[in-house]
Amino acid sequence: MSEWPVALQEIIEDFQDCFDRMERYELLFEYAKRMPHPLPNEEWTDENRVKGCQSEAHVECIIDADTGFHIRGGADAQLVQGLMAVLAIGVDGLSPSEVAQLTPKFVDEMDVKASLTPSRANGFLNLFEIIRSEAEKYTNQPQ
C-alpha cells in the first residue's frame, strides 16, 4: 500500500510522526505556507472554485510537457490550504497518468482524516477528484 509517489510518501511519514491532532494541524499550517505554485486571490474565480468547502478554495492544474503536472491553488482557511499543499507537493512534476491513478487513501495514512470533519473531508475529496480527473484528461493511457 505504500506505493505512493516519493514526495507524497515523505509527507505521509512527516504526519505519522505527529503526536496528536494539534501537532498534525500545526504541520498542516506549515505546509499551507509551502504551496509550490500559489494561486493569488485575484485569480480566484467561480470556475476554479472547489465546491463543498465551507471556506473559499480555488485550484487549477497545469500540465507542462517538460516539467509534468502542477497544481496552483489557494484557500482562505489554512487547514484547507495545507491539505491542498500536501497534494500539490506530493504530485508536483509527476506525469498526468501517475496523478490520474492516485487514490485519496493517502490521507488515511497521514492520520489526518480522523481530524477532518465530514464537510471538510468532502471538500478535500472534491478537490482530489478535480485534480485526478483533470490529470486523467491529459493522460495518454486509455481505460
Partner: protein
Amino acid sequence: MEARIEDKALLPSTMALNLNTIRADFPILSRRLEGERKLVYLDNAATTQKPQVVIDAMNDYYANTNANVHRAVHTLAGEATEGYEASRTGIAAYFGAPRDNLIFTSGTTEAINLVAYGWARANLGKGDVVLTTEMEHHADIVPWQILSKECGIEIRYVPLDRETMTLDMEAFEIAVEDASLVCVVHTSNVLGVRNDVERIIQLAKSRGKGGEGAHVMLDAAQAAPHERIDFPELGCDFLALSAHKMGGPTGIGALFTTTDTMETMKPFISGGDMIETVTLEGSTYQKGPHKFEAGTPRIAEAFGWHAAVQWLDQHNMEDVHAHISSLARWTAKQMRDIPGIRIYGRHDLETTSGVVSFLHEMIHAEDLAHLMDAGGFAVRTGHHCAQPLMEALGVSSTARASFWIYNTMEEAEAFVNHLRGVVERFS
C-alpha cells in the same frame, strides 16, 4: 361459528416470515391493557408500531451525537451531519432513488402541500386541470381546493366504481386528456384497494394534457408499508410518503421528485439552510432538495426513519405483503359470515393491502370500536380523512381493522371471534 381453520390455506407465504422474531422487535406488542388483556393492534393504517432499533437509533442520536447539522466543524456536528445525510442516502436508496431526489417533509400531508405550493403554483394556472379521485385522503384534496381558489386551476375527480370498489378507469382514460397534473392515492387507506398506478402513470404520460403528458403525483402513504416502491422505475414525478406508517417515527416524511421537476419548483417554506446568499435586497437559493428544507431539519427523525427502512430491508417485501394481505383477506372472508356485517373493499384481490373496513347494520361504528377495544382489539372508526369516499360509499364512517407485518393468524382469529361475540351480544 368459529373461524374455520382450513381457510388458513389462504396463507401460504406467511411461512417466509418468522413472526416470533419480528414481534419480539416491537416493545409495545408485549404491552398488557386493562385487566391484563393482550393488545391486538389493528390500527396500522393510521400509524404502525416501531421496532426497538428505530427507538434506539433516535435514543442513541440524542444521547451521543445530537448537534445541529450542516455548516458545522465540531465533532458532534460532523457526526450528526454525516448521519443525517446518510439517512437521506439510505432512505432514498430504499426507494431506488438517488439521494437528491428526496426532500424531507414532516409527512405525506406536507409533501403534497409542497407539490401544491412549490410546483403547482409555479407551473399551473387558469385552464389547467388537476385530476384526482373520489378515493383520496383529504391530504390529496384540500390543498388542491385551496390552490384552485387562489390560482384558478380546475379540479376534477375520477369517480369510484361503486360496483367494483375500484377507480372507474374508463372515466380516468377520458379525464386524463385534459389533466396537467394527476394526483392519485396508490393504495386506499379505507378500501385497501391498490390502484393500477403503473397504468395510471402510463396513461397520464402518453395521453395527459392533450398528449403532451401530465405530471403525476402518487400518495404512497399506505403503499410504502406494503410493497417495495421503486421511484425511478414507477416513472411518476412526485411520490409522497410518511415515515410513521412504515415503522418510522412521527414528524418526518418525504417528497420524492425527479431532478428535472425539482428545478421547476419554487421555494415553499423558506429560511435558513435553504439559501445560498441572503442580502437585504433578495436571496438566492440552494440547489436540490436543500432548497425545500428550510430551518433545522428533523434530525433525530431522519436517523429513526433510516433505521426503519434498514429494519424493513431485512425482509422480502413480497413476503410481507403476501402475509398482510392474506391476513386481511382471510379476516374479511370470515367476517362476511357474521350476521349484519358489511365489508367495504375488494378482498378477493391479492394486491389488496392490510385494510378491512366494515360496518354492522345495527351497531354504530363507534360502539363497535369500543366493544372491540374492550377485548383488546385496537380498530379505528370514523371517516378516515376520506369524506368524499364515505359519500361515494353512502356511509358517514366505517370501522377499520388494518394489519401489518407483526400481526398473526391467531390475532386475526381472535378478532373475528370477539367480533362475532360482540355482534351476538349487542345486536
